[in-house]
């Protein structure tokens, strides 16, 4: 058991483990909606675009979350504006805006005299989690998770059928803004853990994995955080013993779980479906269920 308990004697490890797990869990909850709405690319964009906001917040001594929120707002407004005011499609607008903002962030870091290392923001800085960082991550994560859980039914309705949401007096625009705001907040929690570049992994992979495992959103919302939290813990230990990049190992752990589920998920796995199809073909009498094939447009 010493492999389990030894790392816990190092305070830096305990802090890193806490931050990574908490960030992974809250990102995973949000990822369920992002994956279903088709906002994976937008998640990627916003998580990169917060960079200049975070740097400016650092310079001004303001909380990172404020800077990230403002930058995310700017990014989303620019993306929407560019899409609506030109003939460009949304993915093009996203590509233009987020790379520009990310580049601005890089330039700002390079001209800002500070102790903050560029590499720490880009790749995370798990080994140097201060008490302040820890408190910030815990507070933001708790806040985001509470809002997500309280508003989960409205958010799911917005993801499934925004016109019905509108028809019964809800505001799809406001729900969409809420999700994007939470995306910015949650990005800040994950910044320290895995860095700007890998945040999108936490925002996409857990939701994608859970979606391949269940046909119930309520279960997806439990499975995704559970898998992400488990991967975060496993990955943190692995990176400790392998002496490898913590953010990288955590994300790779999630990727491995995803790959496994993609292949052998009971309902939607690639291999599982092939085997089921072969069995159906060889069966003497095979009543085909309308549920599995041929019914999806």
């Amino acid at each position: 058991m010493s492999w389990l308990t030894d790392p816990l004697t190092y305070e830096f490890f305990v802090r890193a483990l806490t931050v990574t797990t908490v960030a992974a869990v809250v990102c995973a909850a949000l990822s369920c909606w992002l994956v279903l709405i088709g906002w994976a690319l937008l998640g990627d964009a916003v998580s990169h675009a917060v960079l200049p906001g975070v740097v400016l917040a650092y310079v001004l001594g303001a909380p990172f979350a404020i800077g990230a929120l403002v930058a995310a707002l700017v990014a989303v407004t620019l993306i929407g504006g560019l899409r609506d005011s030109s003939r460009l499609k949304e993915d093009t607008a996203i590509g233009v805006v987020f790379t520009s903002l990310f580049a601005l962030g890089l330039v700002l870091i390079s001209v800002t005299p500070s102790q903050t290392d560029l590499a720490h923001i880009l790749f995370g800085n798990l080994l140097g989690v201060s008490t302040g960082d820890l408190v910030q991550v815990l507070v933001l994560a708790a806040l985001a998770l509470a809002v997500l859980v309280a508003k989960r039914r409205d958010l799911t309705l917005f993801a499934f059928d925004p016109v019905h949401a509108f028809a019964i007096g809800l505001s799809p625009r406001r729900l969409s803004a809420l999700l994007l705001g939470l995306l910015a907040v949650v990005t800040v929690t994950a910044l320290q853990a895995v860095g700007v570049i890998l945040v999108v992994a936490l925002l996409v992979i857990p939701g994608a994995t859970a979606y391949l495992l269940t046909d119930r959103f309520s279960r997806m919302l439990l499975i995704a955080p559970a898998l992400a939290g488990g991967s975060a813990i496993l990955g943190s230990y692995a990176s400790f013993w392998l002496d490898a990049s913590p953010g990288g190992v955590v994300v790779l752990t999630m990727s491995a779980v995803f790959a496994l589920v993609y292949l052998v998920s009971p309902r939607h796995g690639l291999i599982t479906r092939r085997v089921a199809r072969r069995r159906a073909r060889t069966a003497v009498v095979g009543p085909t269920s309308p549920a599995t094939e041929g019914n999806r447009p």
Binding site: L36, A150, L157, V163, F166, A167, I168, F217, N295
Partner: protein, 241 residues
């Protein structure tokens, strides 16, 4: 009597495209009105204008004598989308989808009460989907999917139902079932506005028909509207429609 739906001199543009112009329509409560026209004639735009989802350039839309926002907040309007506008792989059960019809009547957390669950069960029963309630929404046949969305409208207790091409891609049995269901709802006072380019469905379903081609050309009894001379105007088409 205040019409359930009143549209006057409506003009809707999407960028440079004129979708509807000079559009006027009135439907009395408890009536089933068919919007008949070609694809691209503006039927969906008209339905969405009645909902208030499309912001018109000019003109008036009233539901029960007020702007549609009031009826929306009261849960009075139900919208049944076209099949291709729905993500059928979405991880929700039939019951989950029907339950969203109750949201207008619930608190901020949308936690359903016992009465709401009963309303959902009753709606599922009414459309004959009680036995399939726990299936994923996409694991239904085309006709069952349509009935699930009508069940949502019933659970909602809406007094105005807007249906966008409910008969596209469904078999005649389903068409018959849906027609009976919508006639029953109209008999209990609900107003139904249904777009279709399928003329066969119209006589059994509709009390009146509005011919749509970039505007409402004419509104009247189905028999009169379905006469070749009338139809020719609606289906002669305008350039690009």
């Amino acid at each position: 009597m205040t019409p359930a739906v009143r549209v006057e001199h409506l003009e809707v543009r999407f960028g440079d495209i004129l979708a509807l112009t000079g559009t006027t329509l009135a439907v009395e409560p408890g009536r089933v009105c068919g919007l008949v026209g070609m694809n691209g004639a503006g039927k969906t735009t008209l339905l969405r204008s009645v909902l208030g989802l499309v912001r018109p350039v000019s003109g008036v839309v009233h539901v029960d004598g007020d702007p549609p926002a009031r009826a929306r907040r009261a849960g009075g309007i139900a919208y049944v989308p076209q099949s291709e506008d729905v993500d059928w792989d979405f991880p929700l059960s039939v019951r989950d989808v029907v339950a969203t019809g109750r949201y207008a009547h619930l608190g901020v957390l949308r936690r359903p009460r016992e009465a709401d669950r009963a309303a959902v069960d009753a709606a599922l029963d009414r459309v004959g989907l009680a036995a399939l309630a726990d299936r994923q929404i996409g694991a239904l046949s085309g006709g069952q999917r349509k009935r699930a969305f009508v069940a949502r409208a019933i659970a909602q207790g809406a007094s105005l139902l807007l249906l966008d091409e409910p008969f596209a891609g469904v078999d005649t049995g389903t068409q018959h079932d849906l027609t009976r269901l919508l006639r029953e709802l109209a008999a209990t006072g609900a107003t139904v506005l249904v777009s279709t380019h399928d003329l066969d469905a119209v006589p059994a379903l509709c009390d009146e028909v509005a011919l749509v081609a970039g505007t409402v050309l004419d509104q009247g009894e189905p028999a009169a509207m379905l006469e070749p001379a009338s139809l020719a105007r609606a289906f002669a088409g305008r350039p690009g429609a």
